[in-house]
Every structure is written in C-alpha cells, then in structure tokens.
Amino acid sequence: MPKVDVAGAQNVEVSKKLPIEKTPAEQLELMEAYTRVHSESLPLSKEEREINCLRVLYPSLFRSIEATDWFAGRLDFLPIGFGSVTSVGGVGHYCVFDKLKAFGEGLESADDRARVDAMYDYWTEHDTKAIYCAEVLTDTTIGRFIAPDFPLMATARLSGVMLDYATMLELGADGMDSRLRTRLADEPDNQFLLAGRAALDIYRSVIDSYLEKIAGALTADLAEDHRGRLETIAASLRQIRDGKAQTFHQAIQQAWLFALLAGCINYGRLDDYVGPYLVADLKAGRIDEQEAHDYLVSLWTMIENRRTTVNGRIIVGGYGRRNPEAGDEFAKLALQVTAECKYVEPQFTLRFNKTTPTEIWDAALDCLGSGATFPTLYNDEVNVPAVMYAMRVDRETAEQYVPFGCGEFVIQGQSIGTPNVLINLLKILTITLNGGIDPMDGVHRAGSVKLKDVSEFRSFEEFYDQYKVLLDHFLDLGADAQYHSYDVMNREASFVFGSLWMDDCVARGRSMLDGGIRYLGGTNETYGNINTSDALYAIKKLVFTDRKYTLAQLNEAACADFVGYEALREDLLACDKYGNDLDDVDELANDLYEYVAKGNRQRGLTRGMDYYLIVISNNQTNTEWGRRTAASVDGRSRGKFMNPANNPQGGADRSGPTAMLNSLSRFRARYHGGSVQNIKFTPRMFNHQRPKVKSLFDTYFDRGGCQLMVTVVDPGILEDAQLHPEKYPNLIVRVSGFSAIFVNLDKDVQDEVISRELYGR
C-alpha cells in the first residue's frame, strides 16, 4: 500500500477563516465527544451514526449573531466533524489532520496534547478521505489533492451540491416531515427516511437554540436598530421552525440554515427562489428597498465570512426560471449590493440570454467596470444546448444548470458533479517524451504503459498517438478514482441534510450516493491544456515539418531547462501559439481538447455515471502544479506556472482580444462541464470604450463563447501591489475560477495573473 500523507494541505485556501468562537478547551471536548460518539456508533447503520454525530455538532457549533447581522446562522467547524466539502471542514466524518496537529501544538498541557494524539490516531483509520486515499492512491501515478508531483490527483469530496431551495421553501420543515412520514408508511424501517426526520429535529434544535440566544440578548440594553434586527430574526425563526417561509426575510433565513446544515457552500438560483418573496414584500409594504438592500448586504457578508476561497456561488438570470420578472428585480438589487460590497465571495454569477433586460446587462458591466470582478458571465444560448448533450438531459432540465466552485456545472437540486480527479496533461507529455520518467524528479510515472524512445518517432502522428496511449491510461485511472470516491463516501455516510433536498432521494428512500440522486455526474479538472497543445504544435512544426531539430534535441533542451539552448528556446517561443486566432494551432488545441473530453466522458458512462465531464476551470492549481512540472517544449521553463484554464499562456497571445476570443470560442461547449475564460482590461478601455467592449462581448458570445470572467484594473497597479502590498488591502482580481484579494496570493500566482494580457494599456 502506498504511503499516504494524510496531513498535507487539502484545498486552496487563500482567504483565511475567522477564529473559532469556542475556547480551545471547549473545542477539544467537542471533538472528543464527536470521536467517542462516532466510535460508539460504529456498530449502527451509517444513517444512525451520522445523526448521532451531527447531534454533537449542532447546535453547539453555531456562533452568536453579530450585532450587524440580519440573519441567524454563523457556523464554525473544527478539525474533526462532519461535512461535504474540504473548504469548510472535510467530507463525511472527517479529520483535517494538519489542522488538528496545529491545534494540538497550541495546547499547553501535555495531557491535552495526548488527547489530541489519540484522536489523530483514531481518525487515520476513520476519516473518509484517508480511507479513500488508502484505497486509491499509488506510489507513482495517483497522488492526493494537493500532491503536485503526480500526473493525476484524486480526492473524495462532495463539492457543488446545490439544493432544491425552491422545494424547500414550498414545503418547509413540516411539509418535508409529512413527506417523509408518508414514505415511511410504506417502508417503516428505511434508515435514510428515519434519519431525514431526525435531521429535521436537529434543524429545529438549532432554531430553538438561536431563539434562546436572542431572548437572552434582548434583555440587555441594545441600540434600537440592533434590537429591531434581533426581533425580525426571532420572528422569522419562529415561523420557519415548522412552517413555510412567508416573507423575503424568512425565505433567506430558511435557505441559509439548511445550506449551513447540509455543508453547502453554493447557494443556487437565489433570484428565482427568493425573488417572488422580495416582490411580494415590497408590494405589500412589509419592507422597503432599503431594508431589502440591507438584508442582502448582511447575507453577502455572512457568505464572505465563510471564506471558502473558491465557492460561494449565487446565480441569477437565465432560462428556466419560474419567476423571471421577480428574479430580475432581485438581480438588480443584488448587482447593486455586489458592486457596493466588493467582496471576493459570494461569487456572483449572471446567466444571460437574448431576453436578458438591457438594464441588467448594463448594470452587470458597470459592476465589472467598478473592479468587482463580478458577475461572472454565462451564456445560456450556448450552455443550455451544451448541457443537454453533455449531461444527456432534456432542455427543461438543462435550463437548471448552475456553475459552482471554479465553474463546474451541475443541475440544481438534481445532480452531483464534484471534481474528484485532476489531470495534468502537460506533465503527461513530459513523461511521454522521457520514456515514462518524469524529468521533474526522475521517477517513473507511466504505470504499466510501455513507451518508445524519443528517437523512434517517424512522424508527428506517431508521437501524438504515443502521447494518447499514456493519456488514455491516466483517463482510465481517473474515471476509476472518481467512481470509487462515491463508493467510499457512500459507505461512510448518507449526507442526510443534503439528500433531503435533492431529487429523488426522498422519493426513492435513498441518500444521494446510495442511488438517490437523479443524475450521478462527476468532473475531471484538466490542467496545462494549452501548454500541451502549443508544445505539440512546436513538435509538429519544428521537428516534422521544418525539420529544424530532432525530437530528441527539443527534449534534451527542455530537460536542461533550456540552459545552453537559448536559441532553440527562442525558436520554440517564436512558434505560433494558441490565442492568436491561427487555424493550425487552434485546431490542434481543439483536437487535443476533444480527445481528452470525449475520452473522459465515455469512460464515465461506461462505469455507470450519468455524466462525467472534463472541466477547464482551474483555481490556482495551474500555478501549484506548474511548480512541479518540468520545462515543456512550448518554451515554458521548469517550475513555471501553466496556462490558466483554456486561456493562452500569459504573453503568448499578441493579437488583441478579438483574436484571443476567437481562439477561445473554438472549443465546442457540449464536450465539457464548464470552462472559464479570463480577460483583463484597463478601466480606460472597459469604461470609456464601453460600446465597443459590449460589441466585443456580444460578438464573442454570438460566435459560441460560453463564458467570461473580467478583471478591470489600471496598468501597473498589480506590479505596484507586489512591491507595496500595504497600499492595496482591497484590490480584487479574478484568478481563474475564483476571485481573491491580490496581495493574499502567492507570489507566483500573482505573477501568473500579471502575465495575462491587459487590454487597453
């Protein structure tokens, strides 16, 4: 069995979490209680075990209401607990080993540290991800997320679950309980349904606990507005404890509490499910616009404070809304709040189509022009038909697509699409060129695949085919690893809270991963796409067309990181590159894209997933993985960041934005499950030449562009922020699938963002 490093960092964490409210002693007790209950519940069903464990956590881990909060529901998480995603805790019954270790090291008493050590040992056997890693990872080919020495990384997580919030608001707790009771009449011993009822009791206990906290707080001498907020919250909590939400405030409050309990960090089509409550409240005079605005500022702040770095999606607009007019009212208000707050989360997302009101489109561009990096823009005219094909669903279903995290699509309330596998296409190319050895560290990483020596290839096609053989091997490993993550997670947990609000779990009496979810999907994040296709193009041109070098010479130069081969490297860099609207290079990029995307998809279908798609939607892993990827024959040096998503390598596109966007829109959206495109403008161009920028965007989208993410920043500012970070505490950039405060990023991630072309200098 490979040695698994359980204690490495498990996710991208740029935004630092708020300190936990409980004292270290209380935290220790809580984690011990959790561990004890878990251990004692091992003989029970996984559903009973989950509920018993959740009762330890909730309501205990809910924090106090902050004085400025308009809603109840701030949730801490500990190094041990239960969750769905690694951004807030971990998946299933989890232990975040590095954080537990750090926690232990912070304790003064040796006895307490020993208590921590005992838990640490227990969880190495029981942490869901540790179990998965032990079963799936290998010594040389599949590493953990994040272990950038490997060509493939795999993890267990249940990312991007977007609950069916509309049904939640329609039913309320009592409505769901009655649904569960009806189902239990047929299957009285169904453990999942029983656990569902118990989960609703936990939900009520959280509300009761908050009502108590509020009652206590109201006895003190409070400012009038603070008192007013607490009274509003209390009234809403009383209503939604059992009944349905009846006001805008209650609707948000209910969705928020269930999202927290389910471990969800993406909030779906908020405009559609709360818009009607907003409009009704405004019409009836129950609230005015100012109050609605204040609610959203508070909600945005509470989302920001969860600090997931790469999640926090809120989606507005697009096809398939039941309440488009009310949704648009909400969207306008939300855009205003987004521009005002300038937070890195929520990741505010606009789906648009040809019926999107001009007013909303203009407000979206104004918001971007203010430097907010939001909304991210999703073109329904392309994405809806693409999702129909990609996920094999009808139009009505496809209209409910939503991007989560860095941009992977799921069907709201109906599908799971967690990216549990990540593949480095460029590393696999460097391994192919070296007979299976990774030139980065000299380790053989080709598994059982036999590769020819670099001197043996007689044509470009022969070499490309060889690369594809190794690629196939890793796509196989990846599809197995993805599918296996569901087995392990399902073995360990039911994810009851999430399953309650996902089709068709209650109807089938089965939790999400136990056959309950309507569409069991999945995604594979691909990296280095463009470096790889540019490198392949350079091989094709310089070796097999121009015959200027042999393949061995190119490889030798790359293995030397081009030291002593400067002229050869110049030739590599001077080769045509993707991003300049050049047919030859773009076609090769597309050919590679389709090969990987189709191969990946087919492997998922064969293994029984409803869909399994690549996503080209990297967070900052392009940089982190680049650090451990050898020099490549596109001219990229050893350890340098790889290209972001499917954008060109920074500096490689020299033909302006129309050319870059033409290259980008070449990839047909139907083969991927989300692909993000970054573009950077100066305010001078974006704001002063707005009609031309609008035309640029409109044309790109008409030509099949699926998505855009826009950073608007003055020239020289990012460079200056590297030198004087103290001057730029609030400068936001779009990294790729997430936005961040620029100065919080690692230096080479900053460099990567800077390297991208800035239009309008």
Partner: protein, 269 residues
C-alpha cells in the same frame, strides 16, 4: 502620376505593411482592424510610429524577443484580407471595419485602392487615416472610394509646417479643401504637440486657416508618448523625450480659443 484602377491591380501585387492591428478602437467608428502601410512623405518630429516612415523594410530591435526583427512585410491583398476577415463578425456588431493608416497609406495608391475594393466586396467599410500629403489626383481618387476619412492638420503656418514635418503645407490644404467639399464623411484632426502647436495663439491660427477653407469642426488629439521607446529600438534620436503626454483637460483652453473663432472642437480620449 497616374493611378491604375483597382481592378487592374494584380492579385500578386504586394504592398509594404508594417503592422495589422486588430481590435483597433481609436481609428474610426466601431471595432476595426487597422492596416498600417509603410512609408510616409512627412517626418513629424513627434511621430509615434517612426518605424512607419521609411519606404523599405528596416531592422528594429524587438524588446519582447530580445532580437532584431525586420519591420515591414510585402503582403498581397489576399494576405491582408485574410487577417481582416477574421473579425468580420465584430465589425458587423459594432459598425466597424477596416482602417488604412500608416505611414501615409496613400503613398501606395494602387495597393490601397485594391484593399478598399476587396473590403467593399466583403461589405466591410474602410476608413482612411491620412496626413493629406499626396498628389491631388491620388488623393481624390482614394477619398472618393473611402467610407470615412480622418485627416490630420499639423500646423497653420507654412514655414513652421516645413520645420516640424519637413513637408509643405499648400498641397495638404488643397487636399483638405477637396475633402471638405467631397461626399465622403470625414473629420479633421489636430495633433496637439507641446512646443509645436499647443498655445491658445496657435489655436487662433488654426481657426483662421480652417475657416478660410470652410472647415468649422475638428477633433483634438492630445500628444502621447506611445512612440518613445521605438526611437531607441531604431537607434534614432527623439526630440520629445522630456515632453509630457497631454490629457484632454490640458486642451481645454486650446479648445475654447478655437471655438471662440468659429471652429467647434472635440477632444479624443
């Protein structure tokens, strides 16, 4: 000099092009592709494209690659159009098209006319950016084919004009008069250059000259330093090293003076 008709320009005929810039947004309406032809009869001391002046390809240091490269490619009409056509969708959306610039594109009249005709065949509009220095027959035959013309006027004093551009003013004015009376929509532009033509008195001088030719509206283009680095790359002296770029605000008084003398002025960003 006779101008052969575009239809007679053979497809193999090549023009000397020093750059093709896509998403060009300061060279006429909408999103445009600007085709810069090499060669210019003027030698404006502040020129931001000094590599555009010579009529032959020339060596220039390319800082990006750290090598010297040749500026100027002999290209056929089809080769130029292949690039221009890549962005046709963007032109249609934005009311843009192709712009011919330079250098002075009219220095290659046959090639220019052939490009205009090729663009028109594809329903692409063509804007010309000109110094106005060309034989009147050439000037009029090209202007008549263009959809829009942007013509620079650099000085009002004939002596000073020769000093700062090494070209004579009268021919330019003759062409300006033709343009003003032609059916082709157009704009006259004054590049406002520190120490050359930027005082309020200069504005008055411009106004007097322009109104004499019936020209009552201009666009002011503030001096910028975009070309600064190129002189070093070409190993040529540059007299405006220390001149500050001007902002639209700097031209407020200049504009007022023009307007008080009967010429309305806008200031380009």
């Amino acid at each position: 000099m006779t101008v052969s008709r575009a239809a007679e320009a053979s497809p193999e005929e090549k023009g000397l092009v020093f750059d093709i810039q896509r998403f060009s947004i300061h060279d006429g309406p909408g999103i445009r592709t600007c085709v810069f032809l090499k060669g210019c009869p003027l030698r404006c001391a502040w020129c931001s494209n000094p590599e555009s002046q010579g009529r032959q390809p020339e060596l220039m240091w390319d800082r990006r690659s750290g090598r010297s490269t040749t500026v100027g490619d002999w290209m056929t009409v089809d080769e130029v159009m292949a690039v221009v056509l890549r962005d046709k969708d963007y032109y249609e959306h934005s009311g843009g098209g192709m712009t011919l610039s330079g250098g002075e594109f009219m220095i290659q009249p046959e090639f220019s006319l052939a490009l205009i005709e090729a663009a028109h065949r594809q329903q692409i509009t063509v804007v010309g950016e000109t110094s106005g220095l060309a034989q009147p027959a050439v000037f009029s035959s090209i202007v008549d084919q263009l959809d829009f013309v942007m013509m620079d006027v650099k000085h009002y004093d004939p002596m000073r004009h020769v000093e700062v551009t090494r070209a004579r003013l009268p021919l330019i004015l003759q062409n300006a008069a033709y343009l003003e009376n032609s059916r082709t929509p157009h704009v006259f532009r004054i590049p406002v250059i520190p120490g050359v033509n930027d005082t309020p008195d200069d504005a008055e001088g411009f106004a007097e000259m322009l109104t004499e030719y019936g020209i009552t509206a201009v666009e002011l283009v503030p001096f910028h330093q975009y070309g600064k680095g190129k002189y070093a790359d070409l190993d040529r002296p540059y007299g405006f090293e220390d001149s500050p770029s001007l902002t639209p605000e700097d031209l407020t008084e200049f504009r007022s003076r023009l307007e008080s003398h009967g010429v309305t002025a806008s200031i380009s960003d």
